[in-house]
């Protein structure tokens, strides 16, 4: 599965995109796996209330299932306009 990071999430983790092999059932499960990897992931995911997630380019939430999902993106609240 492709995992994308934007804005300060990208900066903290240090890359914009990576391929992740996972059997995580939900977004929260994936976040837990990533946090366990390295301190930079732990730092990026420390406060989930400051993060948003999109599944296959649609806004979603951390309880959502990853079944069939090909692309997960993590980023801070958007500041367009």
């Amino acid at each position: 599965m492709d995992v994308l990071y934007f804005a300060w999430v990208r900066e903290r983790i240090g890359l914009p995109k990576e391929q992740v092999e996972t059997s995580a059932a939900t977004v929260s499960d994936l976040v837990a796996e990533l946090r366990a990897r390295e301190p930079r992931y732990e730092a990026a995911f420390a406060d989930l209330s400051a993060l948003r997630v999109a599944l296959d380019q649609e806004l979603s939430d951390f309880d959502a299932s990853l079944t069939g999902v090909r692309e997960v993106a993590f980023f801070p609240p958007m500041t367009g306009g």
Binding site: A7, F75, P76, M78, G81
Partner: protein, 147 residues
Amino acid sequence: MRIAVQQEPFDLGAEANAFAAGDTGSGAIVTFTGVVRDLAQGDLDVMEIEHYPGMTEKALAKIANEAKARWSLGDVLVIHRYGRLAPGDRIMMVATAARHRKDAFEAAEYLMDYLKSRAPFWKKERTADGAEWVASRDEDEDALKRW
């Protein structure tokens, strides 16, 4: 309906004229243009706008289609830039055309409220003191509640 996500500057006047010329049945045309402000009192050097290619166009089209479903609109235009911008540069614009001014105004405000908090753009301000990501504002999130 035209949705453009682009790095290049756009010409507000040319876009407004083209939009108005393309919609002859509407009596009311509203445009909103966002300009890079120097928030940090004179020392903003550059604003960088990051976006999520692929998702951005979809998110903007979804917001525009929701506006078209909700109000009686002749046409909708959304242009949003990404990349490096300087103070005074135009970031984005929306335009709405409708028979009645109320529809044109409300739809433009709706588009702006959703663009602010639901389109995948992130702004970073670079000043003499360093660079900082612009924080989302509670009032922008609250603005969605009225729709």
